[in-house]
């Protein structure tokens, strides 16, 4: 029976991916694109060589982190739609430290990432405080904080950090996560060391949530605030802390862009979308650390593969958006199957 549950855990997403691709293929057929060729290009664009693998992994790093941010908040009963804004302030903070601080890489890189985390945490804690103190719904405040972050970071760049090309200078070499070694290894992809940061963050999230007293408190508050309060847990503190930690993950996601992929920050005309993708990644991964990594792999892979599908088979990248949406649907709906199987299995045993 244990086996069966594990099998289901595996099977449900697998079947969902298959169904998503299948329907995507049907849509292509109907609209006159060649599905086989397109999917061949898609997979080639994900796995077909070290370059593509490198790009896929690079795409994963911020997705893992923004997924962790959403998942962490979810686990503690909060819905953080503000990952986008927290990511932006984290990005700016990382780049700021990367440009204006002088230090050897061993200190500079962690310092810049830390700055991103702290910035994201501060940004995230605002909705936390408002919720704890004034009972303001975090969904509204996080949405508002996104816009505030967008305009404020732009303004700061424009006034204090502007370089030609509507962006900041590059961060110093000592703060960069980029690696000539990795790039060479992957045939000049943009792969950088950020993925290590992301995976470490996933481990931290798991450990924090499931192995520490803090995690115990956060989960308790997430499930039942009243009982937690009766048990002497400080509910307000935990709400703020949860949003801050969630924001820290999001901020570090920003440092992936600032120190890894780009080495600078641009004046953004709109949102990056990574924060919203994080919601999908977290949900695909059922809000677990390992699930988020797998969800980010799927999401990042498909997004990168889509570029090649466009390049080789001429299929618009939006099709992959549709496929991703379908996969999310099937995963969502299969919770029912999951649950049923569990019940049946339990019944069989007892």
């Amino acid at each position: 029976m244990q086996n069966n549950t594990n099998k289901m855990k595996f099977l449900v997403p697998l079947i969902s991916v298959f169904l998503g691709l299948l329907i995507g293929g049907i849509i292509m057929l109907i609209s006159g694109y060649p599905p086989i060729e397109a999917y061949a290009a898609l997979f080639e664009g994900i796995f077909g060589g070290s370059y593509y693998m490198g790009e896929t992994i690079r795409q994963m790093s911020p997705l893992i982190l923004s997924g962790l941010a959403v998942a962490f908040a979810f686990r503690t009963g909060l819905f953080n739609i503000g990952v986008e804004g927290q990511l932006l302030v984290g990005w700016l903070a990382a780049v700021y430290v990367g440009i204006f601080v002088d230090a050897p890489a061993i200190i500079h890189i962690p310092l810049a990432i830390l700055a991103a985390g702290v910035a994201g945490a501060l940004w995230g804690s605002v909705p936390g405080i408002l919720k704890a103190r004034f009972k303001v719904h975090e969904v509204i405040t996080t949405i508002m904080m996104n816009y505030i972050a967008l305009y404020s970071t732009n303004e700061i760049i424009r006034n204090f950090m502007l370089a030609p090309g509507e962006r900041t200078e590059n961060v110093k070499e000592s703060a960069s996560l980029a690696s000539p070694f990795l790039q060479e290894l992957t045939d000049n992809s943009t792969l950088h060391y950020g993925i290590i940061v992301a995976i470490v963050a996933a481990v931290i999230m798991w450990f924090l949530l499931w192995r520490t007293t803090l995690g115990y408190e956060l989960r308790a508050v997430g499930f039942n605030q009243h009982a937690s309060q009766y048990a002497g847990i400080n509910v307000s503190k935990n709400i703020v802390l949860s949003m801050a930690i969630s924001g820290a993950f999001a901020g570090i996601a920003g440092s992936m862009e600032g120190l890894g992929t780009y080495q600078y920050m641009t004046i953004n005309a709109g949102f990056t979308g990574v924060g919203f993708d994080g919601i999908a990644v977290a949900l695909l991964g059922a809000n677990s650390a390992i699930g988020v990594i797998l969800g980010a792999a799927l999401f990042g892979g498909l997004k990168i593969g889509a570029l090649n599908m466009q390049a080789m088979a001429g299929v618009p990248t939006e099709l992959v958006g549709i496929v991703i949406a379908l996969i999310i649907f099937f995963v969502a709906c299969s919770y029912l199957v999951h649950w049923l199987m569990n019940r049946v299995n339990r019944g069989g045993k007892i």
Binding site: P164, I267, P316
Partner: protein, 335 residues
């Protein structure tokens, strides 16, 4: 002069058939009714003129996010396109990096100057074109008040603003120019509200350099025209006459011939004269910027003045300001 360092090894004039060109759009997409679309039109024309096959001999890749630029550039280089264009200054850094990593590739970047011997830098003198439409606005404004709506406040859009202001003041020293940036290229409702504010305060001509936000400017102008107000919009990048229909609110447009630039650079590359490491500036002289061909709403005397100043600018008699500082200088010189 377009002598290039890699004259020898690249495709010479003789091997026309094997020549392939491609471009990467920014997030606006290939049919943004703006410079991406214009670039693609240039590339398409080049392809047709040289009997290339679409998506084999010439093609584009669309980016949906900033992080797509580099993979897209790389993808085209890997498919052995002879010249790969990056459209929009946002792609500057990516073009620079890819050029460094792929010294054999030839790249071109629009609206930006980057380092690299194998990159051609295509820039435009938007301020010069904006100056001309500024003249039209200054002369045809009945209220002596005109407006400028910018997308995102940036060096590039500042060129539009300052050129425009200079043109307005040159034609009409009494005129007042209201300026506002939406800080967004995609928020039509913001464009509409800014336009509303401007018109309400008496402006009767608004020049927009704001992409999708500019659609809101058109909306507001149309509404007012329908209600009998005599207001105008000046379009940007392409001839936006159609956007003003059926109320016919487009006074004129400042066109930026990205198509022309892309075409020319492609041709030069095909002929072994790829301007790598150079800045290729398309100004009034090169017909790279100017006022739109649809001129039914432009009065004769305005057109005359446009022609005069065009000559003067080309001759270097008038130097159009690009930056705020240059504009202040220019203003002093008017007095």
């Amino acid at each position: 002069g377009c002598g290039s360092s890699d004259d020898g090894k690249s495709s010479g004039g003789g091997e026309k058939k094997d020549f392939k060109v491609a471009m990467v759009t920014d997030t606006g997409g290939v049919d943004d009714k703006s410079f991406n679309q214009s670039a693609w039109e240039g590339l398409t024309k080049f392809g047709k003129d040289n009997s290339l096959e679409e998506s084999k001999g010439y093609k584009y890749l669309q980016s949906t996010a900033q992080s797509d630029y580099k993979p897209n550039l790389n993808s085209l280089i890997r498919q052995k396109y002879d010249v790969v264009f990056g459209i929009g200054f946002l792609m500057g850094t990516d073009v620079e990096t890819v050029a460094k990593q792929q010294p054999d590739a030839k790249l071109a970047i629009v609206d930006m100057v980057v380092k690299g011997d194998n990159v051609a830098n295509i820039t435009f003198s938007e301020h010069e074109g904006s100056f001309l439409v500024g003249l039209v606005a200054g002369m045809q404004s009945k209220t002596n008040k005109v407006g400028f709506v910018g997308g995102v406040n940036s060096e590039l859009i500042k060129k539009f603003e300052n050129g425009f202001k200079a043109g307005v003041l040159t034609a009409n020293p009494k005129a007042e120019v209201m300026v506002q940036y939406a800080e967004d290229f995609n928020k039509a409702e913001k464009g509409q509200q800014i336009a509303n504010t401007f018109y309400q305060q008496g402006a009767d001509v608004i020049y927009h350099a704001a992409g999708g936000t500019g659609m809101g400017v058109f909306t507001e102008a149309k509404n007012r025209k329908k209600n009998g107000e005599n207001v105008w919009v000046i379009g940007v990048d392409r001839d936006q006459h159609e956007e003003g229909m059926p109320e016919n609110v487009t006074l004129t447009s400042m066109v930026k011939r990205v198509d022309q630039a892309v075409y020319e650079v492609s041709e030069q590359a095909m002929n072994g004269k790829f301007p790598g490491g150079k800045i290729v500036e398309f100004g009034l002289k090169e017909d790279g910027v100017g006022i739109a061909p649809t001129q039914e709403n432009v009065e004769e005397k305005s057109l005359q003045s446009v022609e005069d100043f065009k000559k003067k600018i080309i001759a270097g008699e008038v130097k159009v300001p690009k930056t705020d500082a240059e504009f202040e200088e220019f203003k002093k010189s008017l007095k």
